[in-house]
């Protein structure tokens, strides 16, 4: 299993703060997790779009879509940050 977290506008659009799903494949990466979620269709397809405005973190470190995801990892999805 992997733990997924959603933040800010994305969390509101999807209506989910966190969930656990099965690792999509033995050699999964962020992109394959995104594709698994997009396959749900509807709002998942509409909002989980890799248009540069979707950011990812694996185990609390910001990464690109090609970053590997392993069993037990925490994968977070969020819009560009706006702190400071």
């Amino acid at each position: 299993m992997i733990n997924l977290k959603y933040f800010a506008s994305l969390k509101e659009e999807l209506g989910v703060t966190h969930e656990a799903i099965a690792l999509p494949a033995a050699s999964a990466n962020v992109l394959s997790v995104v594709q698994t979620l997009q396959a749900r269709g509807g709002k998942w397809q509409d909002h989980l779009v890799s248009d540069g405005k979707l950011k990812f973190a694996v185990n609390h470190v910001m990464v690109n879509v090609d970053a590997p995801v392993r069993d037990g990892d925490e994968v977070a999805f969020f819009p560009p940050v706006t702190g400071g």
Binding site: F7, H60, M62, A76, P79, V81, T82, G83, G84
Partner: protein, 153 residues
């Protein structure tokens, strides 16, 4: 080096004093305070709420401090970032850097702020005269970060 994410306000003077305390080698303390404005993108802002990613936020800020320490000859750094609901004139964030001389302290302070703006997981939602909305990331923040030429961005 230390990092705090908190709801409550902070005492800027006390934070700056703490960075020179007991260190007679300090010749410069540079600081920055970010404040809530009452206008954004042409609309008046009544208040804003800051969300963050507990666990990652602290780690990201500590990493930014560590990178500043590697790049410049500075002694100490302090970052405080507030979360929750804040009103115009409220302090949002403070960065303090101590060093022997102002050049390194100023540069490190600016670097930390620019880096924080693009890499620390905070998100602002503002209540405006047009309703509540999430604040969009600014291209100018990415440009400000790019000039430091950090490899992994």
């Amino acid at each position: 080096m230390s990092v705090t994410v908190q709801q409550q306000d902070f005492d800027a003077g006390a934070e700056m004093a703490a960075l020179r305390k007991n260190n007679p080698k300090v010749g410069a303390v540079a600081s920055f305070i970010g404040v809530v404005r009452d206008m954004n993108d042409g609309d008046s802002v009544a208040d804003m709420t800051l969300e963050h990613y507990p666990g990652m936020t602290e780690k990201a800020l500590e990493d930014i401090e560590a990178q500043a320490k590697t790049r410049w000859d500075i002694f100490d750094t302090r970052i405080i970032h507030r979360i929750g609901t804040l009103k115009p004139t409220d302090q949002i964030v403070m960065v303090v850097v101590s060093g022997a001389h102002r050049g390194e302290a100023f540069a490190a302070c600016e670097f930390i702020m620019d880096y924080l703006k693009t890499a620390a997981p905070f998100w602002k939602k503002e209540s405006t005269s047009q309703g509540a909305r999430w604040v969009d990331a600014r291209v100018s923040d990415d440009a400000a970060m790019a000039r430091w030429k950090v490899g992994n961005k």
